[in-house]
């Protein structure tokens, strides 16, 4: 039986087949669907932890207790979890630990284009990289075997193109529920291995170095590192989805296809170099493989031909190869495409965030932002968000700005899921350090950006169970905040007055702007319509950036099929020209 699966679905399926019983992660494009799919298999436990570091610690605990554990996150999530990666690299575990980490070349939905293969070398742990969905399924099993054989966490690296492309996967007849060799049992105490105080950790370091040597030796004969015979002009070293592009462009070359990108099989690389006139390394982002190949004394070419920016494609690999004279140049057709209007993503019609950002735009605050749907508040015409760096950064940043005495009105805005992820600690910091910042929590009750995953403020778990609903305002109250208000972001006048008053107050404060995500709840009311006689073309309603509202001759019109009837445009219309269709 065969089925078309995305890379992410295949990883989840592979995890199930490999006997993984516990999964933890934090949503992040393009990794999110792995855990969502894994959670649907029978006999497993999966959770959205509050952040990636907690998820990794949860996975470590399960693995310490003898289970097979899976932890998933996007590339920048591993920055959050890095501290945990480095200790578990030293301790190893009783069961097994597979970390799936999704890079995002071309920054389809990320703040940077970091190449997480460096984490494998940095933390001295093995990293596998599948090239299609079938391999994604199989590689989870390999990862579990490596983890258990070598007593090490194993990272599986995917990229957006692998995670979100679909290919044919062979189904295994009866998912064999293999028993873990180390059955989950009472936690075995072994302080010398698991208590990383200096004396113990010092003793573990040589174990880690020795393990890497053994892994490098294993890499020489591992089934996923393959020398594929071809002609002797070019020998191409590559991995992951880039292998697929290279295969199309160089159909007859000799290939060393690496399924494990760290540590590398020096013997296989030398063997390839001995067979061909020129070694070529084709890899997206950094020259991670190329540098290691060159350290072996092999004069490989790579980044001088294939750039270290953005994702590749067959066309891009072909063009670079042609420019370098490796293949005959393509006849290039040129097209005249007039400048077409772009179609950037925007806040959805009826999104509650719009109300807060429009108020902030009117109040001309300096607004320090965070990661989520609401980052779209930076886009015109709202243009009301002035920084966005990483998860949880907004509150620390506004505190720093306020501490040096900036005279602008300042606020931090952070989403609910982001608040629980990494906003609580900086909120404590503001209060403890006698800060005066105003923090607005945009609470839509769900992790919306990544496709509506539940979080501690949703009242539900990934397994679909009811859960205690943790209230943002109660958390703030528990810290000691006195000035806390909850507003409905559609209530425009109240939102403006509340923000004004908080910013002026000179004390640390929290505003919770709460309206459940309308895309998630599918909230819909009768649409609004414009009376062109009353419209004076002031443009207020166009400045809220709501896609159903468009300019027409003599005023504006609202596309009734897209309008969800939130009424916010009517609230900002000074002429009462916008009314609900009865």
């Amino acid at each position: 039986m065969k089925k078309i699966m995305s890379g992410n679905e295949a990883i989840a399926y592979g995890a199930y087949l490999a006997g993984i019983k516990m999964g933890a992660g934090y949503p992040g494009t393009p990794s999110t669907e792995i855990l969502e799919n894994f959670a649907r298999y029978p006999g497993v436990y999966a959770e959205w932890s509050v952040n990636e570091k907690v998820a990794l610690d949860v996975g470590v605990g399960a693995a310490y207790a003898g289970a097979r554990a899976l932890v998933t996150m996007k590339h920048v999530g591993l920055n959050v979890a890095a501290d945990s990666l480095f200790y578990v690299a030293y301790t190893g575990m009783k069961g097994s630990l597979v970390i799936v980490n999704a890079d995002d070349p071309s920054l389809h939905s990320s703040q940077n284009e970091q190449d997480n293969r460096h984490y494998a070398r940095f933390a001295k742990v093995p990293m596998l990289e599948p090239a299609d969905a079938e391999e994604a399924k199989c590689f989870v099993k390999y990862a579990v075997e490596i983890s258990e054989t070598f007593d090490t966490p194993v990272i599986i690296r995917t990229t957006t193109r692998l995670s979100h492309s679909r290919a044919v996967v062979s189904l295994e007849e009866e998912p064999a529920r293999e028993a873990s060799p180390a059955e989950p049992a009472a936690y075995e105490r072994n302080p010398a291995k698991y208590v990383m105080v200096p004396a113990n950790a010092r003793a573990r370091h040589p174990v880690v170095e020795d393990r890497l040597k053994k892994l490098a030796a294993y890499a020489e004969t591992a089934p996923f590192n393959c020398l594929e015979d071809g002609d002797s002009a070019l020998g191409i070293i590559t991995s992951g989805v880039v292998y697929q592009y290279a295969r199309e462009v160089f159909p007859t070359a000799t290939f060393l296809k690496l399924g494990m990108v760290y540590p590398l099989p020096a013997g296989l690389i030398r063997e390839l170099a001995g067979r061909v006139k020129q070694v070529l390394v084709i890899e997206e982002l950094d020259p991670f493989l190329e540098e290691q190949v060159r350290l072996l004394g092999i004069p490989a070419r790579g980044k001088d031909i294939f750039p270290n920016l953005y994702e590749f494609s067959p066309g891009r690999v072909r063009q670079c190869a042609a420019e370098a004279g490796l293949i005959s140049p393509q006849e290039k057709k040129t097209f005249s495409i007039p400048a077409l209007p772009a179609r950037p993503p925007m806040l959805c019609p009826g999104c509650g965030h719009r109300g807060v950002f429009y108020a902030l735009q009117r109040l001309r605050t300096a607004t320090f932002g965070d990661i989520g749907c609401y980052t779209l508040g930076a886009a015109p015409p709202l243009s009301a968000l002035h920084t966005c760096g990483c998860m949880g950064a907004s509150i620390g940043v506004v505190h720093g700005v306020d501490k040096v005495g900036v005279k602008d009105r300042t606020v931090a805005v952070i989403g609910d899921s982001t608040f629980f992820h990494s906003g609580v600690a900086p909120l404590i910091n503001v209060f403890y350090n006698r800060g005066t910042s105003t923090v607005i929590v945009l609470d839509n009750r769900v992790t919306a950006m990544t496709g509506h995953q539940p979080h501690p403020g949703s009242g539900k778990t990934l397994m679909g169970e009811e859960a205690p609903l943790i209230s943002v305002e109660e958390v703030a109250r528990g810290i000691g905040f006195k000035k806390i208000d909850v507003v409905d972001p559609y209530d425009f006048k109240n939102v403006v007055e509340t923000i004004k008053e908080h910013v002026k107050s000179g004390e640390p404060s929290v505003i919770v702007a709460r309206h459940p995500c309308v895309l998630y709840t599918r909230e819909r009311h009768a649409p609004y319509t414009v009376n062109l006689q009353a419209c004076n073309e002031c443009g207020n309603c166009l400045r809220i950036g709501c896609s159903p509202i468009g300019k027409v001759e003599g005023g504006v019109a609202i596309d009734a099929s897209l309008c969800i009837g939130c009424g916010f445009c009517a609230a900002v219309c000074n002429q009462n020209a916008i009314t609900q269709v009865s």
Partner: protein
């Protein structure tokens, strides 16, 4: 087995992804190796969506190469106009006659291209442009959401794969309560172009 590459272009929320999943599944059932690629993420916030579907004896890359798409399925006119460089000479562009205004046009800062301009852009590549009344037909059937399946019906006329396979895949892959509607939409798309082909 001949390779066939399909490029889908549309706007988030138009059902582009589901339609391309259906096409991939049809390919699999007809014995092709199939790969498919799409970009998610911000797309459901009304951004542009593209999806690549590849059928062939053996398919390596999940992405189509520039200059080699055999079919363009434009779910929205402006989105279709962005891809002439992907089309193979002699390709067929099936374009849903449907305009969704991007923000810059709504704000009066940009102009939506005329139908003729879009046709010219696409035919530079040597493509044949076929306008499909998918949006109108879908409205007539009572749901704008099925315009994409109308387009698939049209596409099926250009391919040799048996219609029973198309129908079976659609019935399995759409939400059960919209099964009948989608089959109707597919049939409508098939009939519309059988005439003017």
């Amino acid at each position: 087995m001949k390779k066939i590459d399909f490029l889908f272009a549309g706007v988030g929320g138009q059902g582009t992804i589901l339609a391309s999943d259906i096409l991939a599944e049809v390919g699999l059932r007809c014995g092709y190796a199939v790969k498919k690629s799409e970009v998610h993420g911000m797309s459901q916030r009304g951004g542009a969506v593209e999806s690549h579907v590849r059928w062939g004896e053996k398919v390596y890359s999940p992405l189509i190469e520039e200059g080699s798409a055999d079919y363009l399925l434009g779910f929205e006119m402006l989105e279709a106009a962005r891809w002439p460089h992907f089309l193979a000479p002699g390709a067929t562009a099936l374009v849903n006659r449907h305009r969704i205004m991007p923000p810059a046009v709504n704000l009066g800062q940009a102009r939506y291209p005329e139908e003729k301009e879009i046709e010219d852009i696409l035919s530079q590549a040597g493509a044949r442009v076929v306008w499909v009344e998918g949006a109108a037909k879908a409205r007539e059937l009572g749901s704008p959401a099925v315009a994409g399946v109308v387009l698939l019906g049209t596409l099926s006329n250009y391919l040799a794969e048996p219609v029973e396979i198309w129908r079976a895949v659609i019935e399995e892959m759409v939400p059960p309560k919209f099964k009948e509607l989608n089959v109707k939409a597919f049939q409508a798309g098939r009939e519309m172009t059988a005439k003017n082909k």
